[in-house]
C-alpha cells in the first residue's frame, strides 16, 4: 500500500527516478519500485510463456522471473553487452502480503534523477498502450516514465492474474 502511494506520489509530485536505456530510447521508473540492479545472469527459459518473459534466474537462492522490456515494448532484439543489466523491481504485494520481484533486462543504466512534477508532460494520446505515465524532456533526449504494473499486466505477469 505504501509503495502504491509512493509511486503515485512520485508521478504526480515528481521525485527520484531511475533512468535506463533501451537503445536508442531512455526510460525511467520511480526509485521506490527498484529493489536492486544486478548484472546479467544466465537465464533459464520457461516454456510456453509470453514472448517477453525471458525466463527465470536465481537471485540469492530465490527464483524470480525476468522480463525482456525491449520485447514488451515491441522493440527490435538486441544482444546483451557488458553494460546490460537486470533491474529487479518490486511491484504490488500479493493477497497474502508477499512481494514477488520481477527482473527487467535493460541495455544499460544511466542515472538516478530528480524529476520535478512540473517537468512531466502527459504522453500523446494512444501511445504505448497506457504504460507511459508521462514524458520528461532532458538535455539529450526525452525520457518516458514507465508504469510498470500496467506493463507487466500486458505481458501476462503480475499479481492480479493469480491470487
Amino acid at each position: 500500500m505504501n509503495q502504491e502511494l509512493a509511486r503515485r506520489g512520485a508521478t504526480e509530485q515528481g521525485g527520484k527516478y531511475l533512468v535506463f536505456a533501451l537503445e536508442p530510447n531512455q526510460y525511467a521508473v520511480p526509485i521506490q519500485s527498484v529493489r536492486e540492479i544486478i548484472a546479467m545472469h544466465d537465464i533459464t527459459p520457461l516454456p510456453r510463456m509470453p514472448h517477453c518473459v525471458r525466463g527465470v534466474i536465481n537471485l540469492r537462492g530465490r527464483i524470480i522471473p525476468v522480463a525482456d522490456l525491449r520485447r514488451s515494448l515491441g522493440m527490435s532484439e538486441r544482444d546483451a553487452t557488458n553494460v546490460s543489466c537486470i533491474i529487479v523491481t518490486e511491484t504490488e504485494a500479493d493477497e497474502d502480503g508477499t512481494v514477488t520481484p520481477i527482473g527487467c533486462i535493460v541495455d544499460s543504466v544511466c542515472e538516478v534523477r530528480e524529476i520535478g512534477r512540473d517537468t512531466i508532460q502527459s504522453p500523446p494520446q494512444g501511445s504505448e498502450g497506457g504504460y507511459v505515465d508521462g514524458l520528461v524532456r532532458t538535455d539529450e533526449t526525452v525520457v518516458a516514465l514507465l508504469q510498470l504494473e500496467t506493463l507487466f499486466a500486458s505481458m501476462g505477469i503480475g499479481s492480479q492474474n493469480f491470487g
Partner: protein, 895 residues
C-alpha cells in the same frame, strides 16, 4: 526412611486418618507419591526416591500431629487443603494438564471403539480406569468440580456395566472428554486459578443416561449400616462381584459339578508347584490341562459363563505349553494358580460362598492373554490401581473399624507355598496335624506348628508374615508394592513400561516457525555444499585428503538433511482420529448409519501436508456422508447394507502420498452434473456434454460457482465449496481426482507430494538447458536405437518397449529448446498414475536431490513445470511435472 517402614507408618495412620477431615485426601496424595516412589525404584532412580519419601514423611508427620491433637482433645486448626494444594504446585498443574489432555484423547479413542463394539469389556474397563485416574489427580489439586464430574461419569460407566447397556453412555462420555479438553486448555493458558468450564449441563446429561438404564448396584455389606455417604467424593456403588446365572442353581447336576470340581482343584495347587520345578513333565502338564478342560466343559453345560471364560483362557495357555508353541516361564505358574484360585472361589459361590471380585477375574484374564500373546505379563501395571483400590475401600469404611473390616488375608499356608518356602505337601501334612492337635485340644497356629516341625525357620515365617501383620487393605495393597519392588523381573517390566511411556512423554515443544526455518536452512546448506563440490577450482586441486574431507562433509550434510526432514514428519493419526469423531457426529445429524474404515494412519508425511489437508479432507468426508450416502431405508431398497461405508486410506505411491476418500453411496450422476453446469453457465449453452470425457464432467464440480443448494443430490458444495478444496490441494502441488460409478459410490483421490520442499530428481539435458525429472516418475532409460520405433494411427511416433507401444515425446519440443539430435540422445520411460510415455532427451546428467522453489506466483501457471531448482552452479533448472507434460503434449502431437 526406607519404604517398608514408611508403609508401616502409613498403615498405622490409616486408622487415624478416618477421624481427620481431609485426612483421607492427604493419605491418598501420600499413597500416590509412594506409588511413584515404587515405580522409580523400579527404574533405579534412587535420587528421586529420597525426595518423594521425604515429602511422604512430611505428610505423615502432619497426619500424626493432627491425630495427637485430636487425642489430646484439642480442636484441629482449620486448614484448607485445597488452597495449599492448588497454589504451591505449578508443576503439578502442568502435569495435570498433560494428563487430562492425554486422558481425553485416549478416552475418545476408546469411546469410538466402543461405539463400534459395545461389548468390548476391556475397553469399558480401561475407560473407567482413565476416568478414575483423572478423578484422583484432580483431587490432589483440589479441583472439586472436575472430581464431581469424573465421579458421576464413573458411576455412569458402572451402571452401564451392570445393566449391560453401553450405548447410551457414549454421548455423555464424549461430553466429559470435551469438558476435560476444554479445562486442560484453560489450565494451560491461565493456570490453576481459572474456573472450570460449566458442567451442570453435562452432569444432567450424565444423570439422564441412567434413566431407562438399570438400578445401580447396592452398596456392599461392609458398610455396616453407616449413614448415607455425605459427599460425592465417597463412592456410592460397591465393588462388583462375579454373578453366576441363577438357572444353574436349580440344576441337579450342579451339586455333582461342585463336588467334582472341588476334587480337581484340590490337587491342582500341588500339581502346579511341582510343575514349576519340573516343567518338562508332560504327564503333570496334561493333568493340569485336563482339570481346567473338564471344569470348562461342565461349566459350559451349566451356562456358567464367567467360569467358562476364565477356564478357557487358562486352558489355552496350558495347551500352548503342551504343544510347545509357547515357552514356559515361571510367571505362567502364577497365572494358572490365580486362575485356579478364582475358579475355585466362583464354584464355592455356587455353594453359598462369596464370589470373587470381577475386577480380579478381569485382571487374571488380561494377564493370561498377555502371556498368550507372548508379551510381558502385567505386574506393576496393576500397582497404582491396587493402591487406589485400597484407598477406595478405606473411604467406604471410614466410619467403621478399618482394621477389622478386611477381606480375608491370604492364608499363611498359601503364602508360604507361593513364596516357595514350603512345598504344598508339607502344608497338607501340617494342616492335618493341626486338625489332629486341635481335636486333642491343642490349638496351634499353623505358622507356629510349621516352625515346630522344622519345616520352616522362624525367620522365614516372620518374613512371609510380614505383610500380614497390620492387616488393613491399604497395607496389604502397599505390601504388594514392597513385594513387587523386590522382584527384579518385575522392576524390569516397570522400566520397560516407563521407558515406553517416557518415549511418548519425553517430547519438547518447539515453535514451528523455528522448525521450518531450520529445515529451510538445511536445504540451503545442501545446495551450497553441492555448489562447493562442483566448483571447478576445487576440482583442479588434486588432494586425497581434501577429497576425503569433502566426501565427509557431503555425507554429514545428507544425514543432517534427512534428520531435519524427519523432524517435520508426522503421521495421519491425529487427523484420522478427528475424522472418526466427525463421522460419528455428522452421521448422527444426517440420520444416516455410517461405518468408517481407516487405513494407513501411520503413513508418515510432512507436517505441512497434514495440516493443509485437514480441511479439504473434512469437507470431502462431510460430503460423502451428507450427499454421497443414501439414507438407511433407501439403501435397503436398492439392496445395499443399511450401514454405509466410508473408506479413508493413506498410502505411498510413486513418490507421492495418496489419500483416498471413498463412499459406497449414490455415485455421481453425469447427466445431472452436466445439467447443473449448463444452468450455472459453466458450459456453453447448446452443448449436451456428450463430447466431454467422464473425467471432464466430474471435474466440473470443482468449478467455482458450481456448488449450490440441494437441486443436485449427488454432489453439492456448501459455500466452502469443492473449488476451495481443489485450490487448497493444488496449492500444495497436489492433485485431486474423482472416480465414480452411479449407484455404487464415489472415490476422491488426493495425490500430494511427500514433502513440500525437496524431491529426488534425475537431471537431464536438452540443448543448453537442464531439467529435473522426479526420480519416482521414471521407470527406466534406454538408447533409442535399442528399441524399434513405429508410427501410430494418429501419426505420432511410438516405441516398442517389451511388447507395449508407448508414445514418444521430445522434451526439446515441449520446452522449446533445440535438441542436439532428436533421433539420438536418451529415451526416458516415464510413468505416472495414468500415463506412460517415453521422453526423448539429449543426455542424462545425473541424479540429485533438489529443493523445490516456486517460480513466482506472478507468472501464469505452467503445465508441465512443477517448480524450479537451484543447481550446484547457481543456475536454475526447471522441475518437470510429468503428468502435466503428458497432458500438454497430447494437444500438440501433430508436431
Amino acid at each position: 526412611m526406607n519404604l517398608s517402614a514408611a508403609l508401616a507408618e502409613l498403615a498405622a495412620s490409616c486408622k487415624l486418618a478416618a477421624e481427620i477431615p481431609d485426612g483421607l485426601k492427604l493419605l491418598r496424595s501420600a499413597a500416590n507419591r509412594l506409588a511413584k516412589a515404587a515405580r522409580k525404584l523400579g527404574e533405579e532412580d534412587l535420587a528421586a526416591d529420597a525426595d518423594l519419601l521425604a515429602s511422604v514423611d512430611g505428610e505423615l508427620e502432619e497426619l500424626l500431629a493432627k491425630a495427637a491433637l485430636l487425642a489430646a482433645g484439642e480442636r484441629l486448626p482449620r486448614t484448607s487443603v485445597t488452597a495449599t494444594a492448588v497454589s504451591e504446585d505449578d508443576a503439578l498443574v502442568d502435569m495435570l494438564v498433560v494428563s487430562m489432555s492425554d486422558a481425553a484423547g485416549n478416552a475418545e479413542e476408546l469411546l469410538l471403539a466402543l461405539d463400534a463394539d459395545p461389548g468390548d469389556a476391556n475397553n469399558l474397563a480401561e475407560l473407567r480406569r482413565i476416568v478414575h485416574t483423572v478423578k484422583g489427580e484432580a483431587g490432589v489439586l483440589g479441583l472439586d468440580a472436575t472430581q464431581v464430574v469424573c465421579h458421576e461419569a464413573e458411576e455412569m460407566i458402572d451402571r452401564a456395566v451392570d445393566g449391560g447397556n453401553v450405548r447410551p453412555i457414549i454421548d455423555p462420555m464424549l461430553g466429559v472428554v470435551d469438558y476435560l479438553r476444554r479445562y486442560a486448555e484453560a489450565l494451560r493458558a491461565h493456570g490453576a486459578a481459572v474456573p472450570p468450564p460449566a458442567s451442570q449441563d453435562l452432569r444432567d446429561r450424565i444423570k439422564q443416561s441412567s434413566r431407562g438404564g438399570s438400578v445401580p448396584a447396592a452398596p456392599k455389606a461392609q458398610d455396616r449400616g453407616r449413614a448415607a455417604p455425605p459427599e460425592p467424593q465417597t463412592r456410592a456403588t460397591g465393588e462388583r462381584r462375579v454373578q453366576l446365572t441363577s438357572d444353574a442353581l436349580v440344576d441337579e447336576t450342579l451339586q455333582d459339578f461342585i463336588d467334582e470340581s472341588r476334587q480337581h482343584l484340590e490337587s491342582i495347587e500341588a500339581d502346579l508347584l511341582e510343575f514349576e520345578s519340573k516343567p518338562d513333565d508332560e504327564e503333570l502338564l496334561n493333568r493340569i490341562f485336563r482339570t481346567f478342560h473338564t471344569i470348562k466343559g461342565v461349566a459350559g453345560f451349566l451356562n456358567l459363563t464367567p467360569i467358562v471364560r476364565l477356564t478357557h483362557t487358562t486352558e489355552t495357555l496350558l495347551d500352548r505349553l503342551r504343544q510347545a508353541t509357547l515357552t514356559f516361564q515361571s510367571v505362567h505358574v502364577d497365572l494358572v494358580l490365580t486362575s485356579a484360585d478364582l475358579t475355585s472361589k466362583m464354584i464355592e459361590s455356587l455353594a453359598g460362598g462369596e464370589a470373587p471380585f470381577e475386577r480380579d477375574v478381569e485382571r487374571a484374564e488380561r494377564r493370561l492373554e498377555q502371556a498368550l500373546r507372548g508379551e510381558r505379563v502385567d505386574e506393576l501395571g496393576a500397582l497404582p490401581t491396587v493402591v487406589n483400590e485400597a484407598l477406595d475401600k478405606l473411604e467406604l469404611t471410614s466410619g467403621g473399624d478399618i482394621v477389622a473390616s478386611v477381606p480375608t488375608p491370604a492364608r499363611i499356608g498359601e503364602l508360604l507355598v507361593r513364596n516357595g518356602v514350603v512345598s504344598a505337601d508339607r502344608i497338607e501334612d501340617a494342616l492335618k496335624l493341626q486338625r489332629e492337635r486341635a481335636q486333642a485340644g491343642q490349638n496351634l497356629r499353623l505358622g507356629d506348628l510349621l516352625v515346630e516341625l522344622g519345616v520352616v525357620s522362624r525367620d522365614e515365617l516372620e518374613r512371609t508374615l510380614g505383610g500380614r501383620r497390620a492387616a488393613s487393605p491399604v497395607t496389604s495393597a502397599l505390601q504388594a508394592v514392597v513385594d513387587v519392588e523386590e522382584a527384579a523381573e518385575v522392576a524390569e517390566a516397570v522400566t520397560k513400561a516407563n521407558r515406553r511411556k517416557a518415549q511418548v512423554d519425553a517430547t519438547i515443544k518447539v515453535s514451528t516457525l523455528r522448525l521450518d526455518a531450520l529445515v529451510d536452512m538445511v536445504g540451503e546448506l545442501v545446495i551450497a555444499q553441492q555448489m562447493v563440490l562442483q566448483d571447478p577450482a576445487l576440482r583442479s586441486v588434486k588432494s586425497t585428503t581434501l577429497a576425503r574431507n569433502l566426501s565427509q562433509v557431503n555425507k554429514i550434510t545428507r544425514d543432517l538433511q534427512e534428520a531435519s526432514m524427519s523432524l517435520r514428519m508426522v503421521t495421519f493419526r491425529s487427523t484420522f482420529q478427528k475424522v472418526s469423531r466427525l463421522v460419528r457426529d455428522v452421521a448422527q445429524k444426517a440420520g444416516k448409519k455410517v461405518e468408517l474404515v481407516v487405513g494407513g494412519a501411520d503413513t508418515e508425511v510432512d507436517r505441512n501436508v497434514v495440516e493443509r489437508i485437514s480441511d479439504p479432507l473434512v469437507h470431502l468426508i462431510r460430503n460423502a456422508i451428507d450427499h454421497g450416502l443414501e439414507p438407511p431405508d433407501r439403501r435397503l431398497e436398492v439392496g445395499k447394507p443399511e450401514v454405509g461405508q466410508v473408506d479413508l486410506r493413506a498410502y505411498h505411491a510413486s513418490g507421492a502420498i495418496v489419500v483416498e476418500v471413498r463412499d459406497d453411496g449414490r455415485g455421481l450422476d453425469r447427466t445431472k452434473i452436466v445439467a447443473k453446469a449448463l444452468e450455472k453457465g459453466l458450459l456453453p449453452t447448446g452443448t449436451n456434454g456428450d463430447e466431454l470425457t467422464e473425467e471432464e464432467v466430474f471435474n466440473l464440480i470443482f468449478e467455482p460457482g458450481f456448488s449450490t443448494a440441494a437441486a443436485v443430490t449427488d454432489i453439492s458444495g456448501r459455500g466452502v465449496g469443492m473449488d476451495v478444496v481443489r485450490k487448497n490441494i493444488e496449492a500444495m502441488r497436489g492433485r485431486i481426482e474423482i472416480q465414480s460409478k452411479p449407484g455404487r459410490g464415489t472415490t476422491f483421490l488426493l495425490r500430494l507430494p511427500l514433502t513440500l520442499a525437496i524431491i529426488d530428481g534425475m537431471v537431464v539435458r536438452v540443448g543448453t538447458q537442464r531439467f529435473v525429472i522426479p526420480t519416482l516418475a521414471i521407470e527406466e532409460s534406454f538408447q533409442p536405437s535399442a528399441r524399434k520405433a513405429h508410427w501410430g494411427a494418429d501419426g505420432g511416433p511410438l516405441v516398442d518397449v517389451r511388447g507395449t507401444l508407448l508414445p514418444i515425446r521430445h522434451l526439446s519440443r515441449l520446452v522449446d529448446e533445440p535438441s542436439d539430435d532428436e533421433m539420438g540422445g536418451v529415451m526416458v520411460l516415464m510413468s505416472t498414475g495414468s500415463t506412460r510415455f517415453c521422453l526423448q532427451v539429449d543426455e542424462i546428467v545425473g541424479q540429485q536431490q533438489v529443493v523445490i522453489k516456486n517460480l513466482g506466483s506472478n507468472l501464469p501457471k505452467m503445465q508441465g513445470v512443477a517448480g524450479g531448482a537451484i543447481m550446484g552452479d547457481g543456475r536454475v533448472a526447471l522441475i518437470l511435472d510429468v503428468e502435466g507434460l503428458a497432458k500438454g503434449s497430447q494437444t500438440s502431437v501433430s508436431y
